[in-house]
C-alpha cells in the first residue's frame, strides 16, 4: 500500500496527482483509466480542501491499494481512500443533479460527486473515530500497447 499525507490545500493537488500517477503507472493502468480516476481524485480531494477544515487548514491522508490481477479473476482493482479529521461530511448524502434540465434551469456546479459515482465501480463513506473516510474502487484496464 502507498500513502501520502499533506496539508489539504488547493496547491497540493499537484502532489496528489503525482502520487496517483505513480501508483497507477506501476499497476500498468491504461491512460484512459488514469484520466478517469484522476478526475475522481480531484473531486474528492478538493471537497476536503473546501469543506473539511475551513477556514483553517488541516491534513488529508490518501491511501492507494490494489487487489486482484491484471485481466485475471478477480480483476485488478484500485482502492483509494481519503482520510481527514475535519467536520463530518458525507459527499454521498447529496442528491444527484437532474441532468435533464434546460440550460436556464441547470444550476452551475454540483457535478463533481455525481461524476465520481458514475465513473467509479464502488464508492463508500464512513465517519469513524473523528475521521471522514471516503473510499472508491475501480477495476483497472491495463495498458495494452
Amino acid at each position: 500500500m502507498r500513502e501520502i499525507t499533506l496539508d489539504a490545500t488547493r496547491e497540493n493537488l499537484a502532489a496528489v496527482f503525482t502520487f496517483l500517477q505513480e501508483a497507477l503507472t506501476e499497476c500498468g493502468a491504461s491512460k484512459k483509466v488514469i484520466r478517469q480516476i484522476k478526475l475522481c481524485v480531484e473531486e474528492i480531494y478538493i471537497n476536503i480542501v473546501n469543506y473539511a477544515y475551513t477556514p483553517a487548514v488541516g491534513q488529508a491522508r490518501i491511501t492507494f491499494d490494489s487487489s486482484g490481477s491484471p485481466g485475471g479473476s478477480p480483476p485488478l482493482r484500485a482502492i483509494i481512500s481519503f482520510i481527514d479529521s475535519g467536520k463530518p461530511y458525507d459527499p454521498l448524502a447529496k442528491e444527484d443533479p437532474d441532468i435533464g434540465l434546460d440550460l436556464d434551469d441547470t444550476p452551475i456546479g454540483g457535478l463533481g460527486i455525481f461524476l465520481v459515482k458514475e465513473t467509479m465501480d464502488d464508492v463508500r463513506y464512513e465517519y469513524t473515530d473523528g475521521q471522514n473516510i471516503f473510499t472508491m474502487e475501480k477495476i483497472i484496464d491495463v495498458q495494452t500497447n
Binding site: R10, E11, L13, A14, K32, R35, Q36, K38, L39, E42, E43, I46, V49, I99, G100, L101, L103, D104, T106, I108, G109, L111, G112, F114, L115, E118, T119
Partner: protein
C-alpha cells in the same frame, strides 16, 4: 489557453490546452470573462485539451449561459475522453458541439 479574435473582436476562438483543473481554473475563468466582453460568436476549440475536471465544466456552463444572452457559443474538436464526460453530465444537450 490561447485567444484568437477576428471580425473586430466580435468572433473569438478560445483554445483550451493541456489540463483544466481546480488549480488553474480561477485564472482561466478570470481571463475568459475579460476577453468575452463584446463577443457575439464564441468558439471553444478543445483539440489540445487533455484533461478537464468539474471545475472546468462549471466554467463552460457559465460561459454557455452568458453567451445565450449575448450571442452564440460552439464547441469544436472534442476528444473521446472529454465527450464521455459531456455525455455523463448531460452537457451534450446543453452545449452546441460540432
Amino acid at each position: 489557453m490561447e485567444f484568437e479574435k477576428i471580425n473586430d473582436g466580435k468572433a473569438m476562438t478560445v483554445r483550451l490546452i493541456g489540463e483544466v483543473d481546480s488549480m488553474n481554473i480561477a485564472e482561466i475563468e478570470e481571463k475568459l470573462l475579460k476577453e468575452v466582453e463584446g463577443v457575439t460568436d464564441l468558439t471553444f476549440d478543445l483539440e489540445q485539451l487533455e484533461y478537464i475536471s468539474s471545475a472546468g465544466l462549471r466554467v463552460l456552463l457559465q460561459m454557455q449561459k452568458l453567451m445565450k444572452a449575448q450571442g452564440t457559443m460552439t464547441i469544436r474538436n472534442v476528444n473521446e475522453d472529454v465527450m464521455d464526460i459531456f455525455k455523463v453530465t448531460g452537457f451534450v444537450r446543453l452545449l452546441n458541439i460540432v
